[in-house]
């Protein structure tokens, strides 16, 4: 009994984290392999995929909600990721490949609605070295698929440290991102908010829009993404005099506690759903809600606003401390694991961007030391596809050279220019249109081919 008595302070700390500091489990994501659904018939493939998703995930939402009530910690999202669709759908030969891809997108959307999840990821292709006809069809189908479905998320991996960057795919994805936005112009280009272009994509990421179920994964798996910027913020605010060593320890201790919740929820969900437990992704994921901002943590460290000089160093330290604290708290850490800095989903980022303090170029620098990349950034609607491709190439180069995952999720908001803003609502938030360089990168992008894989020695 003695070892399991808790002091009132400990109990109250936990309750305060949930009620005042917005500690939550951001997502329980079920990964489902669709490899056994492949068929020569597009129709049969769509039916098999729909049936398998509905069967495996039938109890996902109810289970997530039951665990949340029992443990008293909210689970914000229940989601699904599937095998990259390009791999599964390529064998279907009785219909036009583009039509096949769209058919699967609709089947995924219906299945997601049926089981009650708000997003399903995996409308994806892995083309870091080159693209097959199925990969090409998938990439070309993305704008229409995202416009015609509500819950489907798409991602494409265009580079890796081991293979270099597929610049033909980069050029294509510049056009795909732009078209995805244009086809959803009435919703400020929402389609592009559901599309992530990766370098070094991970196979077990539970976070949308970039989640897919990798080919090295089991048939079905439970991955959990934790959150808790508010908890870290409160801890940092309580230590205004601490030097960086002490601050790092405070953040590590907090990240440990947050991640333990992720581990508990992942294992419990896995046990109840009869699917193996995959990983905890120990990312700090902000939401537009006040008090749930990563930017505010950096500001609490002593920066007047996020985006000024010092922001990159502050973020590097935060990201590293989160990883160190979290790594000890869970047996299996994976996914993206770090601090996210999406602009539209973080009130501190939004404000700083609106003031013109946080610039596109500074965001790019910050992504070199944290999780993910250029995320949820609205740019002018008339930005050329080649410029978007060049943005993707820059970000992918950072990932390739630094052996880390990077991603681009920019929204070229149709008809909008600098000074305007876009509103996506819910967790996707709102964003001011941020200026990008207007001089042309077109000749660079038009070269095509591949940027060779980097040397892994002589590291300077």
């Amino acid at each position: 009994m003695a070892s399991s008595s808790y002091s009132p302070q400990e109990i109250v700390e936990t309750i305060r984290m949930v009620q005042m500091e917005k500690l939550d489990i951001r997502t329980i994501t079920m990964g489902i392999s669709l490899r056994d659904c492949a068929s020569e018939s597009a129709e049969r493939l769509a039916i098999r995929a729909y049936d398998k998703i509905c069967r495996k995930a039938a109890k996902l939402v109810a289970t997530g909600e039951a665990i949340a009530r029992e443990y008293g910690i909210p689970v914000i999202n229940k989601r699904i990721s599937v095998t990259p669709v390009a791999i599964v759908a390529e064998a279907a030969s009785d219909a036009d490949q583009l039509e096949t891809m769209l058919k699967i997108a609709h089947a995924m959307d219906r299945a997601a609605r049926e089981v009650g999840v708000n997003f399903i990821g995996g409308f994806s292709a892995l083309v870091h070295k080159g693209a097959t006809p199925g990969d090409m069809a998938l990439m070309n189908a993305i704008p229409q698929a995202l416009a015609e479905t509500e819950r489907v998320c798409a991602s494409v991996n265009i580079g890796s440290t081991k293979s270099g960057l597929n610049m033909d795919a980069v050029a294509l994805m510049g056009r795909v991102v732009k078209e995805a936005a244009q086809r959803t112009a009435a919703a400020d280009g929402l389609g592009a908010a559901k599309l992530v272009v990766f370098c070094n994509a991970v196979e077990d990421n539970p976070f949308m829009a970039g989640a897919f179920h990798g080919v090295g994964e089991p048939d079905c798996v439970i991955n959990v993404g934790v959150s808790g910027p508010g908890v870290v913020l409160r801890a940092v605010e309580a230590a205004p005099e601490a030097d960086f060593g002490e601050l790092s320890t405070i953040i590590k201790r907090t990240a440990f506690k947050i991640t333990r919740m992720g581990e508990l929820f992942g294992r419990t969900a896995s046990e109840r759903l009869g699917a193996p437990f995959g990983i905890v992704d120990l990312s700090l994921a902000p939401t537009p809600a006040v008090g749930d901002s990563v930017a505010r943590i950096l500001e609490a460290m002593g920066l007047e606003r996020v985006g000024i000089h010092g922001s990159t160093a502050a973020l590097a330290m935060l990201n590293d401390a989160v990883k160190k604290g979290g790594a000890m708290a869970s047996s299996y850490v994976g996914g993206l694991s770090g601090a996210f800095i999406p602009v539209s989903e973080d009130i501190g980022m939004i404000e700083s961007a609106e003031m013109g303090v946080l610039t596109f170029d500074k965001l790019e620098a910050m992504t070199a030391v944290c999780s993910v990349g250029l995320d949820m950034i609205a740019i002018p609607g008339d930005t050329p596809a080649e410029t978007i491709a060049a943005i993707i190439a820059d970000e992918a180069a950072i990932g390739m050279i630094n052996r880390k995952t990077t991603a681009v999720r920019v929204i070229p908001a149709p008809g909008k220019k600098v000074g305007d803003s876009v509103e996506f609502g819910g967790l996707l938030g709102r964003a001011p249109i941020m200026p990008v360089h207007t001089l042309s990168s077109a000749a660079f992008i038009q070269r095509g081919g591949r940027i060779p894989a980097p040397i892994q020695a002589l590291n300077n």
Partner: protein, 103 residues
Amino acid sequence: MSKLPDIKNTAEAKTRAIVTVIGEDQVGIIAGVATILADSGANILDISQSIMQEFFVMIMMVDLAKAKVSFEELKTQLNAKGAGMNLKIDIQREDVFKLMHRV
């Protein structure tokens, strides 16, 4: 019983829960909560109370091994009791606290 010895190392840990009461001190808090627990077949293992930041905080560790009602039903009853007394009364499975505060 458990396949996950690193977290849930005993059978009793699975059935234990923490009841928390937070709010303004008033007559009848313990009696009210204890009545609901007794009627539900929940065994009270430990009670502590203190004043933290001007708030009355009462914590009970209970064992639900012989409970006659479901966890959800008990939670609903306690939440309702809290609303009636202008207090926040909740119940959470013990694992949450164990994992967060014990390495």
